[in-house]
């Protein structure tokens, strides 16, 4: 794993050959269709359906080992 990662990182370093100082980065392509949505409640409670896949649950909660702060 270590070797594979090193090989890929070494390969990826070739990006540094390119001068890019004045360029804007491209974070997204395509066209956005729904930048904002109306502030309305459109969801009904569906606790059981959402908890159905829980590996561990207690009543309506997901259960995990004790969190220590």
């Amino acid at each position: 794993m270590q070797e594979d990662l090193s090989a890929v990182l070494a390969y990826v370093d070739k990006l540094n050959q390119l001068p890019t100082d004045d360029l804007e980065p491209t974070a997204q392509v395509g066209e956005a269709g729904t930048p904002l949505r109306e502030d309305r409640i459109t969801n009904q409670p569906e606790t059981e359906a959402l908890l159905a896949n829980a590996p561990d649950r207690q009543g309506g909660f997901f259960r995990v080992p004790r969190i220590i702060d």
Binding site: A27, Q28, A32, T34, P35, L36, R37, E38, D39, R40, I41, T42, N43, P45, E46, T47, L50, L51, Q58, G59, G60, F61, F62, R63, V64, P65, R66, I67, I68, D69
Partner: protein, 483 residues
């Protein structure tokens, strides 16, 4: 030793910055159509999006943006034409995506300031920024396990970051009160710390007076009342001064406030990563806000606390202190103005609201609109006092009865027989009677025993069943006695 601590404290300056998170008062969550409300059973206000099932995507709530902009304008921030959401990655069981959608390099609001008054001094506390982000879920701890509820996951927040301009616990409290007022006046948030929709983290450091360089800061989390913020700051400042005086170094740590012991302790958890690996959120387009939209929000802003305070002082003749009390909550100021509208003297309304009204509100714990009579009825009651139809004391009695019964002022005054006698002839007659009955005392008074005046006033009041207009009694008695 207390005196040593005090002396040491003189040599140091506290440098404090606050990070405040407030829940935005939207109907639905920030990125999904789940209800943004309290009191539901565990995982009832949850959907695949806010519990991060595979394949889900966020879509931004327009009203959340509008409320955030309102707050930004109220705090004199510059509103960015284009701002960018970013992923902030860390692992915690109540953070379902393993990252929080927040803002990083390009926040919605930049700069800004808030004006406060503390220790008799007025200061401007500058803001760094205000940005939008989603809240995480909640954990409940039981023996050996923790239970996770995602009702709060995805609730919209604004994060308001101040510059480290605050210099004392009192200033921090004043700053928080002003922020809270702005959030409520604009309708952006209900901002109730006790209910958890206003949270405050504090960054505290100290430095020797005169030194420009900042000291190492500690962060204090888990503060859920303004009182605790003040205590925590005072405690931490003292702790840091002690360490420095002893020749030690401050460690950059995060502390939790323990409200039971009223002290801070370092967080043991390593579950908070230091490197959040921020990058622009690819699932959301940049947030574009037009000047037209900003302007429409600006013109719809209500009168804000600072402007209202100025107006109360300059136009209505109230003191700064009175103005401060009456502007803490928008409804209180609104109520006061409605009451004052029908009166000759705004001060009458001011005093009444500050004493009787707020007392009832605080005692009953109900919202203003439910706790006391309408502003119109209260105004009517006070108009009666101004006109001399009832005494101030009678008004207090009437007011309590109005609170209980909900009946209008005139009805209560009539039912309880509180009408004050302002008939000068009747008062004159009563005075004459008292004078005739106490001729020896009258003689003593006229000979110089001024203190007896009170006796006569009391006697006349008693004779008239307590319902005589005290001012008139005083006037008429004085006239008769001084003859």
């Amino acid at each position: 030793m207390a005196s040593e601590t005090a002396m040491a404290a003189e040599n140091y300056e506290a440098v404090i910055g606050l990070e405040v998170h407030a829940h935005l008062a939207t109907q639905s969550k920030l990125f999904c159509g789940c209800a943004n409300s309290f009191g539901a059973g565990p995982n009832e206000n949850v959907c695949p999006v806010c519990m991060a099932m595979p394949g889900v995507l966020p879509v931004l709530n327009r009203d959340a943006v509008e409320l955030a902009i309102r707050m930004g304008l109220a705090a004199h921030c510059a509103i960015a034409r284009e701002s960018i959401f970013a992923r902030k990655s860390y692992f915690y069981p109540d953070l379902p995506k393993g990252y929080q959608i927040s803002m990083y390099e390009r926040p919605l609001c930049v700069g800004g300031y808030v004006e406060i008054e503390a220790n008799g001094e007025r200061r401007r506390i500058r803001l760094v920024r205000i940005h939008m982000e989603e809240d995480a879920g909640k954990n409940i701890h039981e023996d050996g396990t923790s239970l996770v509820d995602f009702n709060r996951s995805g609730v919209p927040l604004v994060e308001i970051v101040s510059e480290p301009d605050i210099r004392s616990a009192a200033e921090a409290a004043a700053y928080l009160r002003e922020l809270r007022a702005l959030l409520r006046y604009t309708g952006a948030s209900e901002a109730r710390m006790e209910e958890g929709n206003l949270r405050c983290d504090v960054n505290v450091s100290v430095r020797p007076r005169g030194v420009e360089q900042f000291g190492t800061k500690t962060e204090i989390k888990n503060l859920n009342s303004i009182r605790f913020v003040e205590k925590a700051i005072a405690h931490e400042v003292a702790r840091q001064i002690d360490i420095l005086e002893a020749g030690g170094r401050i460690m950059q740590e995060t502390h939790l406030w323990d409200p039971v012991r009223e002290e801070t302790r370092p967080m043991r958890s390593k579950e908070f990563a230091n490197d959040y690996r921020y990058f622009p959120e690819p699932d959301l387009p940049p947030l574009r806000v037009t000047p037209e939209w900003i302007e429409s929000i600006r013109v719809a802003l209500p009168e804000l606390p600072a402007a209202r305070r100025e107006r109360y002082v300059n136009a209505l003749g109230l003191s700064r202190y009175e103005a401060a009390i009456l502007t803490e909550e928008r409804e209180v100021g609104d109520y006061f103005e409605s009451v004052a509208a029908g009166l000759r003297n705004a001060k009458t309304a001011a005093n009444w609201v500050m004493t009787e009204v707020l007392r009832v509100v605080n005692e009953t714990g109900k919202p203003l609109a439910h706790a006391v009579p309408s502003a119109r009825e209260t105004g009517a009651l006070l108009a009666m006092v101004e006109d001399g139809a009832i005494s101030l004391n009678a008004a207090k009695t009437a007011f309590m009865a109005m609170c209980q019964s909900g009946k209008p002022a005139a009805t209560i005054v009539r039912e309880l027989g509180l009408a004050q006698v302002s008939d000068e002839a009747a008062i004159a007659e009563a005075c004459d009677q008292i004078i005739e009955t106490h001729l020896r005392k009258v003689g003593e008074y006229r000979a110089g025993r001024d203190k007896l005046f009170g006796f006569f006033v009391g006697a006349v009041m008693k004779a008239m069943g307590g319902r005589a207009n005290p001012r008139l009694v005083n006037e008429i008695l004085k006239r008769k006695l001084d003859q």
